[in-house]
Amino acid sequence: MDFIKNHWKIIVCGLFIGVVATLLQKFGNPANMGICVACFERDIAGALGFHRIAVVQYIRPEILFFVIGSFVSSLMFREFKPRGGSLPLVRFLLGFFAMFGALVFLGCPWRAILRLAGGDWNAIIGILGIIIGIYIGIQFIKRGYTLGRSYPAYKLAGLIMPLMMFGLLLLLLVKPSLTTGAPFFSEKGPGSQHAPIIFSVCAAFLIGIFAQRTRFCTVGAIRDVILMKDFHLASGVISLLVFAFISNLILGQFRPGFEGQPIAHTNYLWNFLGMVLSGLSYALAGGCPGRQLFLSGEGDIDAGVFVIGMITGAGFAHNFAVAASSAGIGPWSAWAVIVGLLFCLATGMFMRKRIA
């Protein structure tokens, strides 16, 4: 009982995300992709024309309102603290390469869990990859890896990310039709599949608030278990998995197997290594892609830089045939993951203040 008493908030947060994500699928979001921070940022990159893959272009309101929800919550609870300046370019590239890994596997840690909850067993290999990636990251952190401290920043600087999200919301609602065709919205494929905007907005706004309050973080969850045998965040992630699974059963969305899973492929090696790359990048940047959104909402400009790195990485990954698809990995997936791993390993190894 003590366990529930100490961790109920984070367990409820996981429950809420799990159930809402599966409902978003029910109402129109792609299968096993009720929420995927990586995929949705990739869709935004597509809508802005950073890549021209016609089937994955949409301004996903979930991403916008994760940031806005967290922003409002941090204002309400006096935790809005604009800060930044901790090696932004490195954080940009960590986000950039994290997206490579995510698009080779086809999902962020949240989607990996949602895929598992939907019966996609390929996700197990991906989650294993995340754990190994985080484990490697922890070894660097234990040996003094740091990107250095951030410093308090101007209030206005902390408002940039939330304001950018409002700008994207305007693009989504107004849909200006420029002669260039931008913003682009998919007419078929995953990008065309989305829940009603009002439902996505409300769901994401509430998740933004809950996650800001509870510090929900999939990467922190695994890291705290390995590093400190602390199951606080992990109880939230397990709750997400369990309740998404139950909800999928009720909604008839549970279809177990390896083959023919929605927006997934069965290349075990690169599913694994892609997620090792992502897990390591997230660990080195201090949080999962969802957490980076929530942090950017509460004024963490470095987290905002990571997010923009991810969106840029998505554009690059699709333009340069790095991203995988249901048909399998892309011609350049493997090389891109290797380059990303080398970058992360070098970052972890050489960016440290002392040898322990």
Partner: protein, 75 residues
């Protein structure tokens, strides 16, 4: 008494809690003062100290920051 001070402000997760953990696990640990700038780091450190009866700690708000003083409990 010469008290060790750790300035952990502005560091990404999990560096503040990890550095605190490493400091209190050092056999020479007697007392420590740490500076934090986010509620999140403070919560992490409270969870770290929550199940340790051998350390007493006190949190003081200093403007935007938190100062935590840790002391090895006398038994």
């Amino acid at each position: 008494m010469n008290r060790k001070i750790l300035d952990l402000r502005g560091l990404s997760c999990p560096q503040p809690v990890l550095e605190t953990k490493q400091a209190i696990e050092n056999p020479a640990f007697e007392s420590l003062e740490i500076l934090l700038d986010t509620q999140t780091s403070l919560e992490n450190i409270k969870r770290l100290l929550g199940n340790r009866k051998d350390i007493e700690y006190k949190v003081i708000e200093e403007g935007e920051d938190f100062k935590v003083t840790l002391l090895k409990a006398k038994d």
